[in-house]
Homo-oligomer: 392 residues x 2
Amino acid sequence: MDGRAVPATFTGVRPAILGTPESRIVEIFNYGRARQGTIPLWVGEGDQPTARFICEAAEQSLRDGQTFYTYQRGIPPLRQALADYLNTQFKANVSDERVIVTGSGMQALHLTAELLLDPGDEVVMVMPVWPNIAAAVTLMGGVLRPVPLRIQDGRWHLDLDELFANCGPRTKALFINSPSNPTGWVMDGADMDRVVEFVRRRGLWLLSDEVYGRLVFDGRPQESFLSRMEPEERLIVINSFSKNWQMTGWRVGWAVIPPSLGQLWENLVQYNTSGVAEFMQRAAVAAITQGEPLVRSIVAQCEAGRDLVVERLGAVPRVRLARPEGAFYAFFAVEGEPDSLALAKRLVDEAGVGLAPGVAFGEAGEGYQRMCFAISPAKLAEALDRLAAALT
Amino acid sequence: MDGRAVPATFTGVRPAILGTPESRIVEIFNYGRARQGTIPLWVGEGDQPTARFICEAAEQSLRDGQTFYTYQRGIPPLRQALADYLNTQFKANVSDERVIVTGSGMQALHLTAELLLDPGDEVVMVMPVWPNIAAAVTLMGGVLRPVPLRIQDGRWHLDLDELFANCGPRTKALFINSPSNPTGWVMDGADMDRVVEFVRRRGLWLLSDEVYGRLVFDGRPQESFLSRMEPEERLIVINSFSKNWQMTGWRVGWAVIPPSLGQLWENLVQYNTSGVAEFMQRAAVAAITQGEPLVRSIVAQCEAGRDLVVERLGAVPRVRLARPEGAFYAFFAVEGEPDSLALAKRLVDEAGVGLAPGVAFGEAGEGYQRMCFAISPAKLAEALDRLAAALT
């Protein structure tokens, strides 16, 4: 709680809640929010508002009076469009009944934890990882078993044997986020095959966060666990409109689940936010059915941004950076700077650049900084100039 | 689960989830959704889309590019507008820091349960009640202790001594929804004073769902527990834009909490849906600051609707109806019809009127039907004609 004491009169609050930390990303965001001229690269979003054709679909829906309660699982045309999209882009074979629209990818993660985790249930998780995922687990009383990514030969690397060895008798699920926030690590297809074989054999749930699934570089194939598993297997895939369609502020995502869980999941939606506004969903239909040129331009911009970051930060002697293979973050260590939150604050104050401290992503991330490079080239170049000067 | 068996392969799902029922309101809604000509009075919404001035504020915000991540607790102008509103309408003394914008009143209830309830913790609840509230408690492993409303002298009545006697050593909170969905019962000020005195003495949390707080009839005063308790007392008040501003489909609500819980609540928002879209919040600002004429017209329409329902249904010999004193539902029993779901389905098929079966609101509601009367007078009159014919 960072010194914000909860008074004794609130001992009535759940202990698990007291143990769930404030987001350190939000903390640095709040720290620097009001500082004029800061280039904000702390959160995972670009600098362009949502494309007009997407907004216009929402505006038209509002003018059409689509402001009533709607389907808890999502409107049928959006569920169908999402199934078509997954089948086209990822060679999956998903029926619309497996697709559930959610109020953000985060909500899909939250509902997954609610669906599966009783106190003491373990989730084995590749770290460092976006902190909200770990929090969704601990909120339900679940226990994290972290398995670290390590840098080998200038690339992030996951030891699959170590991953599997961490799955014990209380393990309920394996969580994988590839492409990875914050590291840019991407699991390759052969490793995905091994993971599928392992979870099948052990009867584990596989939770796959594929929010950055379109953002892979260097001509790598776009992969999804959806193309590797059957509908009724223990697989939940989480996704979002935030990153690929520049809709961060909208809070619209989706989950793909086994069809027999449909009614249970609908109940969870009902008892959480009771669905997503129809006019938001109409905008999502526009994004998914007309958004391919936009997505491709975003991916191209991110790849160019990745190249620039690797070139410029890679030339700073104190910086150690593995080349990101996907997503839109550089996750780099700075020699002599073990306290990532202190450095992040100093970079706001002295360089006018907002980064997310690595400690926000778990202990494995301490000593690192996360920088989002999904922004326009000129602004990115300016941020890199400032960082290079401050870190040299 | 009503016969929808979960296969044995999903024994991995939490038992508490399997025990959380499908919403019977949604069940009847889905049953009759496609039947042409049905007058839908099953869910709690009117027949008018959201007012243009509210939609236009969202459209303008979209044109202004307000599509980025925003404040987890809500944008400052909305929090301030809500505090001003509560202080004006309910003679409260609420500072903006106590107001948190949520993705529906439902989400505020869900987060309240997450904040307070560990498995086995009890919530004493006046029943019948909107089923989602009970579900939010049981999802967290909480235990309901229902205390029934009873009809006395043609009015719904709560025995406060019975309510207090149900609070035992494991009781964490007292939940009150007044004006009440589904009964239309309204707790009077003297009883509110007694409740405050009791929860203070016993150190209980008071959870007050004031979603229908403006909808009181016959010149009764509008009351809120906010005007009766101090900021740091154990009070959480839940509210929503859905009913008073005809924004059901938007999913925007708010909670008023003790100020020292601000950071904990922000964490819960962060790890659930990570906030509400800014353009939705701009619409909410328009609703709250320019919506008084709209709210007054909705209240007037509901009171006229209430009068018509009492007059027409009260004349049907088989119907027993206590006069609703608030909210916008009639909750009536039909002689010789103990199975409320069966009757609700028959009324869809034979009368073309969609009602919510009383069993959806707990066992205390079996034998009753809930009818929303927040619709235009001509449509309400037609629905009452059909019901009178079918029930005579």
